[in-house]
């Protein structure tokens, strides 16, 4: 109300309509005495009744389908509490993973292990260069000692980078590795720990790694796409990436010894790959 307009503002009338206790005495008194304003309050009440009578709408079938499809395509962004839960997630819709697993880590690693063992006899610089080149040629898993400190919020990007980065970008120089600057090489020799920095998980033996992968996947003879002896949130950890579908991978972050059992699993995430 004002000198020019003796009637309350419509929002004040709307407040009266719902019995808002904050409405001033003056406004209430005016509405009680003014037939026009009382009519407006009644009209606002009518609008309110109409709003309350609007029906709940049902989501159309095509929208339901679209939502379900979007969720079905969505990589999990959850942290299962246990290895069993992670396995349960892998248990659904994993024909691609099963096909890949049939190849077997041991079969594909055999070549890598022999080759990298051979490379140990070469000088450090050549070993790094050769193993990087070998990573492109070999069909087996990519074995890294990247020095990456994986983080939950960045895991998707870090894993994609590790899977797709050119070997030259993934590998730092042998001098860096030897100096413990958190660097490693693509296709680093399995079992070689001398290149690891203090924060980076030491490499497992091929047998330990196969046992670890089998335990994570729940399927003996599984073959990972990537193994990175690195760290997670500042602590040594092994990142094992297993195929799930053609465009999706499962990322297991495990403790550096990857001992069998739930305690080994630090984090699990399903990540879509380009």
């Amino acid at each position: 109300m004002s000198a020019l307009n003796p009637h309350p503002d419509p929002e004040e009338l709307a407040a009266v309509a719902v019995g808002d206790p904050d409405v001033g005495v003056e406004v209430r008194a005016h509405v009680g005495d003014c037939a026009e304003c009382a009519a407006d309050v009644a009209a606002i009440n009518g609008v309110l009744r109409s709003l309350r009578e609007l029906p709940e709408l049902r989501m159309p079938v095509d929208v339901v389908t679209a939502v379900e499809r979007a969720l079905a395509d969505e990589p999990a962004a959850v942290a299962p509490a246990s290895l069993a839960a992670a396995r349960a997630r892998r248990g659904r819709l994993m024909p691609f993973a099963a096909a890949a697993s049939a190849v077997g880590l041991a079969a594909v690693l055999g070549t890598t292990v022999l080759r990298t063992n051979d490379q140990r006899s070469t000088d450090a610089g050549d070993a790094a260069t050769d193993s990087v080149a070998g990573a492109e040629a070999a069909p087996g898993p990519r074995i890294l000692t990247s020095g990456t400190d994986y983080r939950e919020a960045e895991l998707d990007f870090q894993v994609r980078d590790a899977l797709t980065a050119p070997p030259a970008a993934a590998a730092l120089s042998a001098e860096d590795s030897a100096a413990g600057r958190g660097a490693g090489t693509a296709d680093a020799p399995l079992g070689s720990t001398e290149q690891s920095s203090a924060r980076t998980a030491p490499a497992l033996t091929p047998e330990q790694l196969q046992s670890c992968v089998d335990e994570l996947s729940g399927a003996p003879g599984s073959s990972p796409l990537l193994v990175d002896y690195a760290s997670y949130a500042g602590r040594p950890a092994v990142v094992v990436v297993l195929p799930f579908r053609e465009d999706t991978v499962d990322v297991f972050v495990v403790r550096s010894d990857c001992r069998v059992g739930n305690d080994a699993l630090i984090y699990f995430k399903r990540v879509r790959t380009p």
């Binding site: 503002d9 419509p10 808002d20 979007a70």
Partner: protein, 218 residues
């Protein structure tokens, strides 16, 4: 969905989802999708935008499930995500718009609601909702249409309860003006002369502003 899932409350389903139960989130979607759709359609006023918004919202909820606090109310959390998805869609649609806003509003104010209206009155209400500000519209949809408590809506919108009440009062008055239920000369905000038409001489800024999707206080 198993019988077990159907018996679990929302918090328990979220806990199961986070522990790797692949079916739990689907139960939550089935349980809340109609409400999410109602809010999205009535907020955006556009079935296509609403469809995209609810997809965005459920994906966002799925992805950020780990941030859900066990002591929170799932429906409040989800409403917040849905409303934010709607406002985000509306912002982007506004940026995309190549016609003057008033014209675009006039062109779309009625037709989208024709598709959802169960009656002429519902259509009129829907068209009127499309003409009030987004802030007021969201508050009206949540409080008046869907019966949520003012305090809960305040939590959804991240504003004080008094702000929600104020938006509701202004929104109800603006709707009454839009529907021609108030005497001629009434104007929200006390300015005489507004006839409920956006841009009408003397129309209050808050009464019938075009659907500005950008909340002024959120």
């Amino acid at each position: 969905m198993s019988d077990l899932h159907g018996e679990l409350d929302d918090a328990a389903l979220m806990a199961r989802h986070l522990s790797g139960d692949g079916a739990a989130f689907g139960v939550l979607v089935a349980r809340h999708r109609d409400r999410a759709w109602s809010v999205a359609l009535r907020t955006t006023g556009d079935p296509t935008e609403a469809s995209d918004a609810v997809q965005d919202a459920f994906l966002s909820a799925y992805r950020s499930a780990a941030t859900f606090r066990a002591d929170a109310k799932f429906s409040t959390w989800l409403h917040r995500i849905v409303v934010n998805a709607c406002l985000d869609r509306m912002r982007r649609a506004r940026v995309r718009a190549t016609v003057p806003l008033d014209e675009s509003v006039a062109a779309t104010a009625v037709d989208p609601y024709d598709a959802i209206a169960a009656s002429d009155l519902a259509a009129d209400i829907g068209a009127a909702l499309a003409r009030i500000s987004a802030d007021q519209r969201v508050a009206i949809v949540l409080v008046d249409v869907h019966g949520m408590a003012v305090d809960e809506v305040a939590e959804v919108l991240g504003v004080p309860a008094g702000t929600v009440k104020s938006r509701c009062h202004r929104g109800r008055a603006a709707l009454a003006l839009q529907l021609g239920h108030l005497r001629p000369g009434r104007a929200v905000g006390g300015a005489p002369g507004a006839a409920g038409t956006p841009g009408a001489p003397g129309a209050s800024k808050d009464s019938t502003t075009p659907p500005d999707p950008t909340p002024s206080e959120t």
